[in-house]
């Protein structure tokens, strides 16, 4: 019998409960997160028009760079000021 040392961090993924989804967007504040990929803004501009035409409030956010995780302060601001968020993930 061979005994080897575990080369992994030995972690078990923890299940995270997603935030409750709003049943309706009526009166919701929707955050639009631009991750700073080229032309993500074009997509989000169009979304903003569409959402505002339906009477929703839109707040725009932008990550400093697509190559690093969003700063914790930005994540907190989105979480506390929006009911829903849409992220433009790629160019």
């Amino acid at each position: 019998m061979t005994v080897v040392m575990d080369p992994t961090a030995g972690r078990v993924a923890q299940a995270v409960q997603p935030a409750t989804r709003p049943m309706t967007l009526a009166g919701a504040v929707v955050g639009l997160l631009d991750i700073s990929k080229p032309r993500g803004d074009v997509f989000l501009d169009q979304l903003e028009v569409e959402l505002e035409s339906r009477g929703l409030t839109v707040k725009r956010f932008k990550k400093p760079t697509f190559s690093k995780p969003a700063p914790v302060d930005l994540r907190h601001e989105i979480a506390t000021s929006c009911d829903a968020v849409i992220e433009a993930l790629a160019d």
Binding site: V3, P7, A9
Partner: protein, 469 residues
């Protein structure tokens, strides 16, 4: 402490009998045969499991140790009449023996046994989880089955191998090396050592691996983004200083290729750390569109002894006698072939023309690159007195590009810069780039470009870390 298989131990048996009949309080331990030596009324103490020998660091038999209230106060190894008499206070022992005889090797340091002994008696210094493989499980297949490999077989990280790997550093196994992305796991020296074993490293490579892990996990290098990007790049490790020579790294012929254990296994160990400890699994967090074969392992030493340039690590602020790793986010080499230029001006133009085309001839500033100058090209610069600063300055000038060649639509190519840059003049690379390194074999009028990922704040900056020896 004695063993039967030792002529010096047999020689001292009469002395042991003399001591037993004196007022000395003597215990005789034996390593190999509990019936040896014949002490008459008393029996030797069986240390065939080598427990006592291991824990008292016995390297030679016979070893005579004096204890006072359980604490060692003196020892002598082999046979020396003067030393034995001084240590025991028995001034008449061993009269008929020769003055001295060297001892034999202790079984507790026998190369064939020592690894097992270290696991049995010293394994507790490892805090990681032990995994028992089933008797019918092939140990190499087991690593594949558990998702621990990069696609090639790995060396099974047995406790003995991990303990031996840890001999390569003075650092404690429990020391934290870095916080490894993407799962942001604090990893210990022991955990890095386990992965270094799997990569095929020798213990003397471990300090280089530790430095590389530390460098990769800085926010400047941004291993997280480098892993997650759809782009090609992975960490490229450049090693400078005496350490590279001492562990036999390749800075010469076939420098980016196969054949050198240190180059390949150090590069591989970093990637296994990111995969197994950080959780950076291809196709999950590593979303490279095409990737690069260099993501298996990409590590080489700079050819310093005949370089026209200061070593990369020195250009980045380290002392010339320091060993260091520098991490660059790049991919496989693009050749620069120029077999006719004999002036630095012409050669620099050749290099600039290839550098201009990296990533895309119409994309500028954002992307990074490393220029690796081969020795035969390097000699052209050396003969003309061009150092790193001079070459970089010349390249900067040669790589200023009119905006009209770069804008979208220019050359009937849609890719390019927005139209407002039409009348601007733009540099191919951001200030201070590309990095310049000297490496390669004696023959061949070749250099290369290692194209890189996005440079700077938006992507990755080179990071240099001193290797703790």
């Amino acid at each position: 402490m004695v063993k039967r298989d030792c002529p010096t131990c047999e020689l001292v048996v009469p002395v042991l009998l003399e001591l037993l009949t004196s007022d000395a309080d003597l215990d005789v331990f034996v390593q190999d045969d509990p019936s040896f030596p014949d002490l008459g009324d008393s029996d030797p103490i069986d240390d065939t499991d080598l427990d006592f020998s291991f824990h008292h660091d016995i390297e030679t038999v016979p070893t005579l140790i004096q204890f006072d209230a359980g604490t060692e106060v003196a020892r002598t190894v082999g046979w020396s009449r003067d030393d034995w008499r001084a240590l025991t206070g028995q001034t008449a022992i061993g009269e008929s023996l020769p003055d001295s005889r060297p001892g034999c090797g202790s079984l507790s340091v026998d190369p064939l046994l020592v690894d097992d002994l270290r696991v049995r008696f010293g394994g507790s210094q490892l805090s990681g989880r032990r995994i028992e493989l089933a008797a019918l499980e092939d140990e190499f297949e087991a690593a594949f089955d558990r998702g621990w490999t990069d696609g090639l077989p790995v060396v099974p990280p047995t406790e003995a191998r991990v303990l031996r790997m840890l001999d390569g550093t003075a650092r404690s196994p429990a020391d934290i090396v870095a916080t490894v992305p993407p799962n942001l796991v604090e990893v210990t020296v022991e955990q890095v050592a386990i992965n270094a074993v799997m990569a095929g490293c020798k213990p003397e490579y471990l300090p280089v691996v530790l430095a590389a892990v530390e460098a990769a996990c800085t926010s400047e290098f941004n291993m997280h983004g480098l892993l997650a990007t759809t782009y090609f790049s992975g960490p490229v490790i450049v090693v400078n200083g005496p350490m590279a020579r001492r562990i036999g790294m390749n800075s010469g012929t076939n420098v980016f290729g196969q054949g050198n254990r240190a180059n390949l296994t150090i590069g591989r160990a970093l990637q296994l750390v990111v995969r197994n400890l950080g959780g950076g699994v291809p196709g999950q967090v590593d979303m490279a569109c095409q990737g690069s074969p260099g993501k298996l392992a990409f590590c080489f030493a700079e050819r310093e002894h005949d370089s026209p340039f200061t070593p990369l690590s020195v250009s980045r602020g380290l002392a010339p006698d320091a060993s260091a790793v520098t991490l660059f986010a790049g991919e496989g080499p693009t050749p620069i072939v120029d077999q006719l230029s004999r002036t630095p001006e012409s050669l620099a133009r050749s290099m600039a023309s290839v550098l201009r085309a990296t990533h895309h001839p119409k994309l500028v500033i954002g992307w990074d690159a490393m220029l690796v100058v081969g020795p035969e090209h390097g000699r052209v610069f050396a003969d003309a007195g061009w150092d790193r600063t001079r070459l970089l300055g010349e390249l900067d000038e040669l790589l200023l590009i009119p905006g009209r060649e770069l804008v979208r639509g220019a050359g009937s190519i849609d890719e390019g810069l927005p139209p407002e840059f039409h009348d601007a003049t733009l540099p191919k690379f951001a200030d201070g780039r590309p990095a310049i390194v000297h490496a390669g074999g004696d023959a061949g009028l070749f250099s290369s470009v290692l194209p890189g990922w996005v440079g700077g704040e938006l992507g990755s900056d080179m990071v240099t870390v001193k290797i703790e020896e």
